[in-house]
Amino acid sequence: MECAANIDTIQDAFLFIRKTSYDEKRDGINTEEQINKFLDRILELQKYLNTKSDKLEEINNKLEGLSWLNDLKESHLLSINDLIASAKDLHSILIRQYVNLNYLRSKGVAKESIKRFKQVIDDLKENIADIESIFFFLPKVPEFVETTRQLSLIK
């Protein structure tokens, strides 16, 4: 009886090991495929983020360009005010997207692309604040306006 029980135990172990060995061999191939797919996805994510960052840099350049416009009329300021509101909306959307990427960033996935994405989002915020100051706040600071006037008189 004991002999038969031993054989069953051995057989049970053998079957378990054989099945596991087979699964591991089969899954090993699948895992490699999965890693490749995963790496492809990371590359896609990096490309996607870099494309977004490029577009945001273009927006930032356009915002900087606004500061060099001369002879603006009331209608232009109205348009700039609308533009600032849209840009603020865009910034809120982008910040939410960045927060969603935090887990990946903490794991070191697409780290540089995510970092660049955050930097251009921060630049957007800074440019929005600057444009709002230039057209709506600084012209209302008497000291600032007076300094501009006096500088124009310097010989």
Partner: protein
């Protein structure tokens, strides 16, 4: 072009040089400002809506780098560095507020009127900035 700076700029600049993370500022300034014509420096954000005396904020060394505030008086071929701060790292700030933008603008006007400025030159090897107060020239 003649390059000058205020006492406030010199102080902020020297403070940055003491921090290892920000020592690149000297090379950045030399590369960006020196041996240039005024029209090559008309980029960044213009804060004062003036074409003849633009007050400019410029990002140096990319997004996370430095923010430089300067004034150009084009007819005099002169540039005045007013303030610098890093965006990140020790002493970093996202931006300066409108009151401070107005303050350093007023300060540079007073310093121009009173000749209370430093003239900037670079060493022969173009590695270091030298500050000479106008009262010593």
């Amino acid at each position: 072009m003649n390059i000058y700076c205020t006492q406030g700029f010199k102080f902020a600049f020297e403070k940055l040089l003491k921090k290892k993370a920000h020592r690149s500022i000297e090379a950045e300034i030399i590369e960006y400002f020196f041996n240039k014509e005024a029209n090559q420096l008309l980029s960044g954000v213009r804060l004062n809506n003036s074409s003849a005396e633009p007050y400019i904020k410029k990002r140096l060394e990319g997004s996370g780098g430095f923010r430089l505030y300067f004034l150009i008086i084009i007819k005099n071929d002169s540039l005045y560095l007013m303030f610098v701060h890093p965006k990140t790292g020790p002493g970093g700030a996202e931006n300066i507020d409108d009151n401070y933008k107005a303050k350093i603008y007023k300060d540079v006007l007073e310093d121009i009127k009173n000749h209370n400025l430093y003239k900037l030159t670079v060493s022969e090897k173009q590695r270091n900035i030298k500050f000479n107060h106008l009262s010593n020239i």
